[in-house]
């Protein structure tokens, strides 16, 4: 029935409207989070720049590159992958892109005859790989929204000891790089063995640098920090990318809800119009049928009938003015 359809449409429009309110709110929240995440990334930069500069100085001073985090592990048959995704969805292709990039690298490692080991950050990657029946060696969650340095330390600790003991041939880091609010890219980067910045050997040691303890001693102390700092900046990048993706996805959802609302209102208005037209047709049709049964050929009900004709007795009893004439 027409009226029923109208009611159903009205209910759908209401539900689309409330969905739109939610997606709009999520969009706004994500927008502020992107700004915050960018600020955090910016305030983390001095540390990572500085630590890199110190390492360059140390190597220039002739520090021995013999730390276990720097050497290859030619015996090892396992490549580890650290995959950074989000805990929550509603962020478009953000998680799928990282996971797909990671899977490509995993396939490449397998083609080389290497085993692989998964370290996942964020519920989404964890769910995905577990669903595929792959063993997840370490899983972290609850840190990608607003990562703190302790998170990086935790993850680094999970990887570092396994690399230092020679179990892992390499560690790759799959995360989403943040270029701008509009551009992010899922990348897979070599994480271990650490790539220290190349230093021109001819430059020789910088004059008069004092070290305490020796350059090699400091380098050995600083490399684990460098590892954590690189992981931390990957986490911050991933977090900014996540919020930017969510903002974009929610903006699209809000716009879609708006479009859906418009087209549903149109359908609903047409349905209502149809119902009114049908009702008029029914009244007119009914009147005509009634008119023709009274004998009149063309006249409609009102002109053909008068109150006196219909209720002569009734009028006589109540309205005396009618009987005077």
């Amino acid at each position: 029935m027409a009226g029923g359809q109208e009611r159903i449409l009205r209910r759908r429009i209401k539900s689309v409207e409330s969905t739109k309110k939610i997606t709009r709110a999520m969009e706004l929240i994500a927008a502020t989070r992107v700004v915050k995440a960018q600020e955090r990334a910016a305030s983390a930069r001095p540390y990572s720049d500085e630590i890199t500069a110190v390492i360059v100085d140390l190597i220039r001073a002739g520090a021995a590159k013999e730390h276990p985090l720097l050497r290859d592990n030619p015996e090892a048959r396992t490549a580890a992958f650290v995959v950074i995704t989000s805990d929550r969805g509603m962020c478009g292709g953000y998680n799928t892109n990282v996971i797909r990039a990671a899977e490509r690298s995993i396939a490449a490692a397998r083609a080389k005859g290497l085993d692989f080991s998964l370290i996942v950050v964020g519920k989404k990657a964890q769910k995905h790989f577990r669903f595929q029946g792959l063993a997840v060696d370490a899983a972290f969650e609850g840190m990608t929204d607003q990562p703190i340095y302790d998170n990086a330390r935790e993850i680094a600790a999970a990887v570092r000891s396994r690399y230092e003991t020679g179990e892992l041939a390499s560690v790759e880091l799959a995360y989403t790089r943040f270029f701008s609010a509009g551009t992010q890219q899922a990348v897979v980067r070599r994480f271990l063995p650490l790539e220290v910045p190349e230093v021109d050997p001819d430059a020789g040691p910088t004059a008069d640098l004092e070290y305490e303890p020796s350059p090699t001693g400091i380098l050995n102390e600083i490399l684990p920090r460098y590892l954590e700092s690189r992981l931390f900046s990957a986490l911050l990048d991933a977090s900014a990318s996540e919020h930017a993706s969510r903002q974009r996805a929610m903006k699209a959802a809000t716009e879609n809800a708006e479009d859906l609302k418009t087209s549903l209102s149109r359908i609903m208005n047409r349905a209502r119009q149809d119902a009114i037209t049908t009702e008029i047709m029914e009244i007119v049709g009914g009147a005509e049928a009634l008119g023709s049964s009274k004998g009149g050929k063309h006249d409609l009900l009102p002109s053909h009938l008068s109150a006196e004709h219909l209720f002569p007795d009734h009028l006589d009893r109540t309205d005396h003015s009618a009987s005077i004439h």
Partner: protein, 131 residues
């Protein structure tokens, strides 16, 4: 010309300003002070305090839980993955942590408790209330 000092943690820059003297303690256990014109220096820092004597008088103290210091051309950069300015240290909490750590050491939990004790002591020293 004063020393341009920066105290940087992984999450943010904690302190940035000019100082006339910077005092720190390196891993070897020795205190070292830097004055303007010091030779370029790179060192690993122990869990202890660093003190900046500010140009306009007064000083700023921070507890450093391990870190690095680099001095070159009158720029002092201190990197620490755990650093706290004295003004942000909760002294009561540090004292409780110290007691707890001492008790743990007596029970024989060494490595971790030693670290906790060193951190608590550094915090208390930074506030200047070391007994």
């Amino acid at each position: 010309m004063p020393l341009a000092v920066e105290l940087v943690s992984p999450e943010r820059t904690l302190f940035s300003g000019d100082a006339t003297i910077v005092r720190a303690r390196t891993v070897g256990g020795g205190d070292i002070a830097f004055l303007p014109g010091h030779t370029p220096f790179v060192g690993a820092l122990a869990t202890w305090t660093v003190e900046f004597t500010l140009e306009g008088g007064g000083s700023e103290v921070a507890a450093i839980h391990g870190g690095f210091i680099e001095v070159s051309n009158d720029h002092v950069k201190i990197l620490s993955d755990l650093a706290e300015l004295a003004s942000t240290i909760d002294i009561e909490r540090a004292r409780r942590a110290e007691e707890k750590a001492r008790a743990a050491i007596q029970r024989g939990d060494d490595a971790e408790a030693e670290g906790a004790l060193a951190r608590a002591t550094a915090r208390i020293a930074a506030v200047g209330q070391l007994s």
